[in-house]
Amino acid sequence: MSGPVDQAVAAAFRDSWGQIVATLIGATGDWDLAEESAQDAFTAAMGTWPRRGVPDRPGAWLMSVARNRATDVLRRRALGAAKVREVAVDSREENVEFAGSENIEDEEAVSGVYDDRLRLIFTCCHPALSLEGQVALTLRTLIGLTTAEIARAFLVPEPTMAQRLVRAKRKIRNAGIPFRVPPAPLLAQRTTAVLGVLYLLFNEGYSATSGADLVRSGLSAEALRLARMLSTMMPEDCEVTGLLALMLLHDARRGTRLDGAGDLVTLEEQDRTRWDSGEITEAILILKEAMQLGRPGPYQVQAAIIACHATAEDEAHTDWRQIAALYDRLAELAPSPVVELNRAVAIAMASGPAAGLAIVESIVAAKTLSGYPLLPATRADLLRRMHRLDEAAVHYREALSLATNDGERRFLTRRLRETTTGR
């Protein structure tokens, strides 16, 4: 097979897989049939395109082959004439529509196509499914990763992942989880659930060490694609935009977050010249537009915090007052002990270490972050800056005893040495 055709198939897969699966689930209600028919269509493309050339509209070609496969299978199964008729009629309408709208940007055609993918993502991320099931199902149906690839990305044996997918699909059918975009009263809450799954996916990929596993780090790119898709389909939802901006801002710094030894480099110490300015510019533009609508949420605020760092020339020029104010806002919108700890750090930078230490000590007293190494590490760091070195050493040692990886241990050992020898 020739290179350009391979590329065309790969591009069509990226652009059309989720759309084909979503449309067929919508038409047949049969998730396995939808996946198998989509798979068959791509197999047919690999056989036909090298001989007859890539069709003008690969997505439409694939959709029509997949529809025909689904109709054939349903007919063979003799599942009842009604269902076959329904798919066949849809298929005709689709062909008419394809023939009539040469322009793919045709607004109606696009919104009609997008609707099914939006239904699909809300169904995949239904809170009655296990979180693991939601993640796996999203990757399988919307992105088209194989069971083996998803298993590899989540470091579980393939049969375990296969079982997870079967279980999730079975529950959708048996428990009557509807294939739809939730109605208005449920929409905000369910959108939050979808965004949670996308951010989890992104972070799974982001935390993968570079080069360790390409499939795993590829998850970030897939999460970004899904967030883009979602923001196109739900432009009025500011949190969708907020999450997209947040992902872009993280992604822009991807290459600088680990040093040569694979240790984490803190935001302040990252090489800013190597940040992706294109992604940062885009993120800030869409974030500004979203925030002007005046419906703030945790993702927008988190993105705004990273944006403050991303737009500062260097650490010294960072607007810590603004960052501290944003953490105050985040603590109101999405209170958690970890947010509180970050707020303490920002306030220490804006108003001096004593103000930060007071917050850290209240978190210690509340015992909500016991066993979290960054809590004593932050406490030690603030004490060090206040020249209370003996106390700082005590808490660096505590942090060392809790550290979970070598990178953390190396960092803390270095700081402890500075504290005990630097007086």
Binding site: H126, G176, P182, L186
Partner: protein, 113 residues
């Protein structure tokens, strides 16, 4: 679809069926079902788990013992069998059941074939 709502709590609410059907929050729940067009097919209030009997058959022998199936804090205090379109509707109704505010409602689809 039909769903069984298993209404569970720590048995702190000791009211019987007659008291419950007259309680304003339960009347409001029934009204809500009506308003949503969701049918309540059946429902009962159960006696507390202290009155439960566990029965097993092993090798032709019947084993009878005192107590509920599982020792947990939440016990099934009653059930409601409803008919509605999909899981989201069942979740909505379950969330509005008065016991959901202090206990747990488990929603189980009926195995229809």
């Amino acid at each position: 679809m039909r769903y069984l709502l298993m209404i569970c709590d720590d048995e702190s609410d000791g009211r019987g069926p007659l008291e419950l059907v007259r309680a304003p929050e339960h009347i409001a729940w029934i009204d809500y079902l009506d308003h949503r067009g969701i049918t309540l097919l059946d429902g009962v209030r159960l006696r507390p788990s202290i009155d439960a009997t566990k029965v097993q058959s092993r090798n032709g022998e019947t084993l009878v013992s005192d107590g509920p199936f599982i020792e947990t804090k939440e016990q099934i205090g009653g059930f409601a069998l409803i008919e509605c379109d999909n899981l989201d509707d069942a979740i909505d109704v379950a969330a509005k059941h008065p016991f959901a505010a202090h206990g747990v409602v488990e929603v189980r689809p009926v195995w229809d074939e």
